[in-house]
């Protein structure tokens, strides 16, 4: 038991998943959890934090400071403090890779490209436009259309021998295109790889990349083949943190700790 040890909580209330991280004073991750955000952000964040605390073997009283981030960051009562997911992802990634990096985050509903200099200072960031093309929502929609569980996509894409390229920007038009490819007798693994490729292309259109590229986000966490494909596309290795889905929450917890130190 770590009863009287103060800890720091970061809660990333995403449009699709809520993530929570508990850091100890040495900035080690001692608890973490991911739950579906659903429609009740308050309940999801509470449940997620409880699970993370359980894993950490801590009580809520031990939380010296909590910080929220993500789409629903201002809709939950857990914390008075919030920061955007852009800042938190940047902070979380720099924690793992303290150097000049370009971060590609592929989330459930949005994508980001964030550039940091060697001191961790943010140089620029881009978010996808309103459209969900190239985000997790696109893959979710396609898995429904193809009647394949989301978690099977990665394995299927890996089996592809000859990728089928899709041309459309639009999720709905892509679905039609996919049906057309099936009618033409194309193999499902080849189509799924094409879907992955389409996600990567949408992201690459957003900004240029620096030498060191980090990939994060729920989509990356569950589809490691996407990282491999991106590596092939850009011709170099991509850095992936231990918990790619949690970088936002980790960043939020790190901010919470900084604020606490500052207040002390």
């Amino acid at each position: 038991m770590k009863d009287f040890q103060p800890v720091f909580a970061g809660i990333d209330v995403g449009a699709s998943r809520t993530k929570a991280v508990i850091l100890d004073c040495a900035q080690q991750i001692i608890g973490r959890a991911v739950v579906k955000s659903g429609t009740d952000f308050e309940a999801a964040s509470h449940q997620c934090l409880t699970l993370a605390l359980l894993m950490a073997g801590c009580t809520a009283e031990q939380i010296a400071k909590a910080m929220t981030t993500g789409y629903g960051r201002k809709n939950v009562a857990i914390s008075q403090e919030s920061k955007t997911e852009i800042s938190c992802h940047a902070r979380g990634c720099y924690y793992y890779f303290p150097q000049t990096i370009t971060i590609i985050d592929i989330g459930g509903q949005d994508n980001k490209i964030i550039k940091l200099d060697e001191s961790g200072k943010r140089l620029s960031f881009k978010m996808n436009r309103k459209c969900a093309a190239g985000t997790g929502a696109f893959l979710e929609e396609m898995s429904t259309r193809l009647d394949i569980p989301l978690e099977n996509l990665d394995g299927l894409a890996r089996q592809s021998m000859s990728m089928v390229e899709l041309g459309s920007f639009c999720t709905v038009f892509s679905a039609t295109e996919v049906l057309e490819k099936i009618r033409q007798g194309k193999k499902v693994p080849d189509i799924v790889k094409g879907l992955f490729f389409s996600v990567i292309k949408r992201v690459m259109e957003m900004d240029s990349l620096s030498e060191h590229v980090v990939m994060t986000g729920g989509v990356v966490a569950h589809n490691s083949y996407l990282v491999k494909m991106t590596e092939e596309m850009i011709g170099r290795r991509i850095l992936v943190p231990d918990f790619p889905q949690l970088t936002g929450a980790i960043g939020a917890a790190l901010y919470a700790q900084t604020i606490m130190n500052y207040e002390l």
């Binding site: 929220t68 201002k74 809709n75 939950v76 955007t84 997911e85 800042s87 200072k121 943010r122 620029s124």
Partner: protein, 414 residues
């Protein structure tokens, strides 16, 4: 819960007077429309309004009406009506909102000014393509609808340096309008009257510039969002004494603010420049979004568009031709970049917001690499937000908010 701070907006007292002047302007047009006592011309906002006024026309500006449709959030319901009749959702949403509202038989004027139930009917429509081609198509639709003459000036676009050849071409096109306007108005053209109108227009323009330049004070007494409201007289009343009177009044109030160090945004932490059009239906939200974070968006390319420094009553046609061609929107990217660099320095800005308005490429200056080039040259960071001037279907509030907040966090960490 991370509560959003309530923003206390500082009222500009002169606004009361502006509202009176604007109301008089609309009622005068309405009266002329109902009684046909005076001829009415429709004109583009950076068009040859001075010539029309000098020839005795009352002038209606469809773009002003388009902006009112946007600000009242009527536009988004009107645009689909025009879309359904063949005007794409990808083209100017002033055009589609305005034409859609006409088709539906509604106008925001009725809400603001009881007794006015329609836009004033034109006797002639006069456009200037210095800003875009859409105005020509827009006015052409009404010319067919009302069966009235459509006249236009075709300006060179993408001009790097405005030369004598450009000026000569535009000046001669302006002169060529005169005989037709004489026939429509029944009035003989009088150069002294044009000089008089141009003198007033120049005065209005230089006062408006002084108003906008007050934002260089630290803290700034005015915001870009104030500017979008207070530019009304510079758009629809320039060339009249009323506009001159108004900007004298406004300028005096802002100078008092400067002397007393009164900030338009309490505790001004960062100063931003806005490039592109406002999102009319979100003026208040955007103003609150920035002000709530202690950030003043204080200057813009857009409000500066009604500064016509070249006007010279001694050289009427040439100077109008030059002024209307020297405008930012008419120019090549190198001229635009040089301009924004001057603005960055003059207004001492910490960052730039580019509004990429989906339906107005002409006012969206972030599509050909300008933000990247300027950032490399000046080190001043920028943020591009996607949206639209009028079509709220193209606006994502949550995306805008997250982007803006993240940009402010970036400035904080600098």
């Amino acid at each position: 819960m991370a509560e959003e701070k309530k923003v206390v907006r500082k009222k500009i007292e002169a606004a009361v007077q502006m509202n009176r002047y604007m109301s008089d302007y609309f009622y005068e047009l309405n009266e002329a429309d109902k009684t046909r006592s005076r001829k009415i011309a429709w004109c583009t906002s950076v068009g040859p309004a001075e010539i029309l006024r000098a020839m005795g026309f009352l002038v209606h500006f469809p773009e002003n009406h388009g902006a009112m449709l946007g600000a009242t959030r009527m536009a988004t319901d009107m645009i689909p009506i025009a879309n359904a009749s063949g005007y794409s959702p990808e083209i100017c949403s002033y055009l589609t909102a305005d034409v859609g509202a006409y088709m539906k038989g509604v106008t925001p004027l009725s809400r603001a000014y009881p007794g006015i139930d329609r836009v004033p009917r034109p006797d002639v429509l006069v456009y200037n393509t210095n800003q875009c081609r859409d105005v020509q198509d827009w006015f052409a639709w009404y010319a067919a609808e009302f069966k009235v003459p459509l006249l236009g000036i075709h300006t060179h676009r993408g001009v790097k340096d405005v030369g004598d050849a450009h000026v000569a071409s535009i000046a001669s096109q302006m002169k060529a309008l005169i005989p037709q306007l004489e026939a429509i108005s029944g009035n003989k053209f009088d150069i002294d009257e044009l000089r008089h109108v141009l003198t007033l227009s120049k005065e209005c323009s230089s006062l408006w510039k002084k108003v906008l330049d007050t934002a260089s004070a630290m803290p700034s007494p005015i915001t870009f969002f104030d500017g979008t409201i207070h530019m009304g007289p510079a758009v629809v009343l320039r060339g009249t004494q009323t506009a001159v009177d108004y900007y004298n009044l406004l300028l005096a109030e802002l100078n008092v603010r400067i002397n007393n160090k009164v900030a338009a945004v309490e505790g001004e932490r960062f100063r931003l420049y806005w490039d592109g059009m406002p999102v009319w239906g979100r003026l208040r939200d955007h103003s609150d979004l920035f002000a709530g974070a202690g950030v003043n968006v204080l200057a813009s390319t857009y409000c500066n568009s009604w500064i016509f420094s070249a006007f010279d009553p001694e050289d009427t046609f040439n100077s109008m031709a030059r002024a209307y061609t020297e405008l930012f929107i008419v120019r090549a990217d190198d001229a635009k970049e040089a301009y924004i660099r001057r603005m960055i320095e003059f207004f001492k800005v910490d960052g730039i917001i580019y509004h990429d308005a989906k339906t107005c490429p002409n006012n969206s200056n972030c599509r050909y690499g300008m933000p990247q080039r300027l950032e490399a040259l000046t080190g001043v960071p920028s943020l591009t937000i996607n949206g639209d001037l009028n079509d709220l279907r193209l606006v994502s509030d949550e995306q805008t908010k997250t982007n803006v907040e993240a940009f402010i966090e970036q400035l904080e960490e600098k």
